[in-house]
Symmetry: C2
Subunit: 449 residues, 2 copies
């Protein structure tokens, strides 16, 4: 039976589309308002990152709406990290066990697929080029700008779902209400997207099924494969200092720097200088706030509630998991929005706080630690522990990435406990074979029995 | 010689007025825009707290504009904390050494005096009922609402000083720019102002020259004297839980609670129920942000840059100290606004972060620790150390309150070092006389020599 409550979802991105599908399945009419033009009919260019890492929490959500298999056809599994040193030597670190991978997918392609699904639902109406200017929180009256006509108009939905991203205008309105806790914190690093094009025969010029990292201590570059044979490289680099975006001012400085620091990648980047100086520098923000809800009338979710930096590849996955949790609560509590929203916040907030902190931490791991032989040895030892104690040990990365039922906060807590065990253990270990030493085995037995 | 740069100060409160005076003395024309009506001609009622604690950093600023003596006549020195237990028994803790005090002053009275001074300056123009709606950061174009006519108009000053308080609209515009770090965090406590009126003969019904505290573990009430013989009481109390603002719903619940918890005060509060249910609950926010400046065009200061909770009595004092620092930089760097603003931020930010954290910490001390005999004994021992080692020991409270040249961050660091010494020392001390034990004296000698 169709319900009469008027629901508006602000934002027609990944999370807004998925949520609107879930709401429609529950029998609601849903209006989706998106600031940008319909990306299926417009080339939007730059801005957000081009590809994303989809992992198990994300797949789980896509399976519920029946498009997992379609997306899998255009997703590229990445089974390992491949580290490139300054001489072009490679080292390898699998992400999980045999067959486990994270998947490089196109943000635009995935968004298009979700928009197609939403459009096919008779109870979902998509409205593009509609920009939220302000929400009168007491009444849910939304001032909306039609960016085509330049005219403002008003809507007053019963319930507003704010999936309008890290720079959410709904959240900005909530921020002006009393007792709204809010934090936006930027890293002193920006990012720049660059390209390694396909080879002449259309093939990938680096190992296709991997996430490539050029770890350089205080900064790094990574590369993810695209279906067209190219790689999208992302350079994470300080805004200021030496070296920094500020210090690389001329094509000569740039080329000489890249040739010294990223020689193997540079040889594959014919348009480096042009891309570097034309593409914008993206900033890296973490956003935390509380409450996420205003009574049973407004709910923040996805990046609007908890934007995170990209280093754990979990931003979209966390947003999709929001939808998974909400879906369960919608079924359980029906129209009781206050209960749904409060429970959602109580359940999700500790977990999104955890993944936010993990994401910042993983930057340090990626840019610095993965270049350290001791760190790579530790990862190998951890893999042995997982094999020996499969019921009581899983590496943190696997808990976050390949365990879609494990809350992020528990993954973090388990990970901290395991890290302490590893710290003690590694004092006894100089090479892989030391794992079999009695002292090591006894300590492990005592800790994990 | 008069300068041609157009300076606008947003906010005609305590900090905005003092700053405008300093700018005028440097030869600038200054426009001051204040959202509210002229408080010298209107009774504004509630909202901000009625009285403030003025201490040495504040006095130092008032002395530079020649009104310290006038203010001193209407300020009431508070030489000590007086703690009231549940049976009405009192205990005492001096704030500093003989003659040292913090001063209870009327916020309104002080603001009026500053407005009078500003108005008397021919190069300062005051504009009331002018509300900043938005600042176009790239151009410094300010959209201003005249709240009398309801008309919007625009100004484009060369430099904007935002002294528009904790809910600064200038800061809100900056928040929307890239890489602006921002945090607003609320305590789970609100405050309510209540009154102990004068006795029939006009005299004070509690010790006049003291700050009174009713410490009750998780919450507290305080009282500051006013010149009219009354005390303004402020109850700091949880919003929710048991007991809380939410749990006290009827006059009967309220009266019974107050008679049990604050019996001696309650006997002096004839209008308790009416005030409690009519007065608003104030919220308690800490605001941190960075950068405070946008190139050499916009500067945040005072609460707009670093609002703090009131428990160290330093909010206004810190804002005045901002002006003191700026005044020095104005003289040193003349019109070089970029240098002035960047140096201001570099110098002040660590110090305002320190006082923000100290203020939150002091809530715990005031509501809980001052009721603990061990804590009061520790304070007495500290006084002995200060007397014996005057060159190397000053209690943290004195460093913050009575040492106007010591940066807050240094006070905090010294305080943490001293607290560690006290922790060790107090293990050897059960009563005041134990201070003379050889072990105690030797340890102190070793630490402080």
């Amino acid at each position: 039976m169709e319900k009469t409550t008027q629901l508006s979802v602000m934002g027609g991105g990944l999370v807004g589309c998925l949520l609107s599908l879930y709401l429609a399945k529950q029998g609601y009419r849903v209006d989706v308002y998106e600031r940008r033009p319909d990306l299926r009919r417009t080339d939007l260019g730059g801005g957000r990152s081009i590809n994303l890492a989809l992992s198990d929490r994300g797949w789980r959500a896509l399976e519920t709406i029946g498009i997992a298999e379609d997306i899998r056809k255009v997703a590229i599994p990445m089974y390992q990290r491949v580290m490139h040193d300054k001489n072009g030597n490679l080292s390898f670190q699998p992400y999980g066990q045999e067959g486990q991978a994270i998947y490089s997918v196109s943000r635009g392609g995935l968004n298009q697929a979700l928009l197609d699904l939403a459009e096919a639902e008779p109870t979902i109406s998509l409205h593009f080029q509609q920009q939220v200017m302000e929400v009168e929180v007491a009444t849910n009256k939304v001032t909306m700008l039609d960016t085509v006509s330049g005219q403002e108009h008003h809507i007053s939905p019963d319930v507003i779902f704010a999936a309008d991203g890290a720079y959410s205008m709904v959240r900005l309105s909530l921020q002006k209400t009393d007792r709204f806790n809010y934090e936006q914190s930027y890293l002193d690093y920006g990012y720049k997207e660059l390209t390694i094009p396909p080879a002449a025969d259309g093939s990938w010029q680096l190992e296709k099924n991997a996430l490539h990292i050029w770890p350089r201590g205080q900064y790094m570059m990574i590369a993810l494969p695209n279906v067209d044979g190219s790689f999208t490289c992302t350079m994470f680099f300080p805004y200021e200092g030496e070296p920094s975006f500020k210090s690389l001012q001329t094509p000569e400085q740039l080329t000489s720097f890249f040739q010294e620091i990223f020689p193997d990648a540079t040889a594959l980047m014919p348009d480096l200088a042009q891309e570097f100086f034309e593409n914008p520098i993206g900033s890296l923000v973490t956003i935390k706030c509380q409450p996420w809800r205003h009574s049973g009338k407004i709910l923040l979710l996805g990046d609007a509630a908890h934007a995170i930096v990209p280093f754990y590849g979990q931003g979209m996955n966390a947003g999709f998991e929001d939808c998974t949790v909400l879906r369960g609560l919608l079924e359980q509590h029906q129209d009781n929005w206050e209960t749904i929203f409060q429970t959602f916040q109580d359940v999700r907030k500790p977990n999104t706080d955890a993944i936010a902190d993990l994401a910042v931490y993983n930057f340090i791991e990626m840019r610095d630690k993965v270049a350290d032989p001791r760190f790579l040895l530790q990862k190998k030892i951890e893999a042995k522990i997982t094999a020996q104690y499969p019921d009581s040990w899983l590496p943190l990365y696997s808990m976050v990435t390949f365990s879609p039922d494990l809350p992020y906060a528990e993954a973090l807590a388990n990970g901290q406990r395991q890290e302490e065990i590893m710290r003690v253990l590694m004092e006894h270990i100089q090479k892989e074979e030391d794992y079999d030493k009695p002292a090591v085995q006894e300590y492990l037995q005592a800790q994990l029995a």
